[in-house]
Symmetry: C2
Subunit: 198 residues, 2 copies
């Protein structure tokens, strides 16, 4: 492995470790020293790749966004599924993931938004892009469902997608709080009610 | 002022100051030293009233709950309003409040839930009670609206109230992130669509 490849591997390793710590503990609750310790990376090496903890967190939001896009191929962007099946696959995919975490973690973008959205304009900008990406992905599924007649016709697909994404994020807050799938199951019932043409 | 009254006043002053700091900055982002400094209270006096920062935060959740109940008399629990007017008054009351804060703060219960719900069982228990209180208050308005015929009949009023509370909490996460009333305005459109019999 040459120096450049090794450097990139270290950078990615820091992102892998940091993304999990931020996800599980929150941004402010996670110190740089813990990240360095768990990654077994020196402070010098960290600062070679990132200006500070904030720059690091921005890179991690990019990482979360890429992860969401990649995982969406299994549900919202899975071309082998109908629009109704895409929504169901999305729901069950995340329900299963959150269950494995004993309902303690939720959505990394929502967590960052709640913790930092109001505090730091740089985070706000990046998180707004991340939310828009989720809304856009869902809008495409809704458009497809409206066209196929599976979903109700609607005046403003993006507004509906925004509402559904928001209600999912809110359900995750309550899911974490009561450590139960109930708010997510409830979300699925009402999301189907809002979407399905039946 | 006797010693007991003075002690209670100090305790309440700490809660007033702490509740604003936690609300604006988050729990983990607010150190005890800042609370003491802004309240001009000594460490000894703090520990006379509270075992630790966590016990203090639990008292602050109680304070937020009482505030929500008191403020609800202006909207959801305002007996001079119809159910539809109660929902609208709730929406406009908080929209106005959040606007004054430049959309940076959101709901203190939702903030705590997002930041701490998954981390600390004591917080979870207390926050679950707080969420249930919100859902219960909204359920009563929905029941009233269904009875009067203003709202659509529904199988499970509590589930619908839970979904509406969750979607409001989620809208607040995005509101904070994009610093705009748009997610809340959007919430109001779809909440009316879910509730109103028209």
């Amino acid at each position: 492995m040459n120096a450049e490849t090794k450097g990139e591997a270290t950078k990615q390793h820091l992102i892998d470790v940091g993304s999990m710590l931020f996800y599980k503990q929150g941004y402010n609750n996670t110190g740089l020293s813990q990240i360095l310790k768990e990654a077994s990376v020196t402070k010098g090496s960290f600062y070679f790749h990132f200006d500070d903890k904030e720059t690091f967190a921005i890179a991690i939001i990019d990482f979360y966004m890429k992860m969401f896009r990649d995982l969406s191929k299994q549900h919202l962007n899975n071309d082998s599924l109908t629009p109704t099946e895409k929504i169901a696959a999305f729901h069950h995919f995340y329900l299963n993931l959150f269950k494995q975490q004993d309902y303690t973690c939720g959505c990394p973008i929502g967590n960052f938004g709640q913790e930092l959205g109001g505090l730091n304009p740089e985070f706000s900008k990046k998180l707004a892009i991340a939310f828009n990406g989720m809304v856009f992905t869902l809008s495409q599924v809704i458009s497809e469902g409206v066209l196929s007649g599976e979903f109700k016709a609607t005046n403003d697909i993006e507004a509906l997608a925004g509402f559904i994404v928001d209600s999912w994020e809110g359900a995750l807050v309550r899911m974490k709080t009561i450590r139960s799938s109930q708010p997510l199951e409830n979300w699925f019932v009402f999301t189907k009610q809002l979407l399905l043409n039946e």
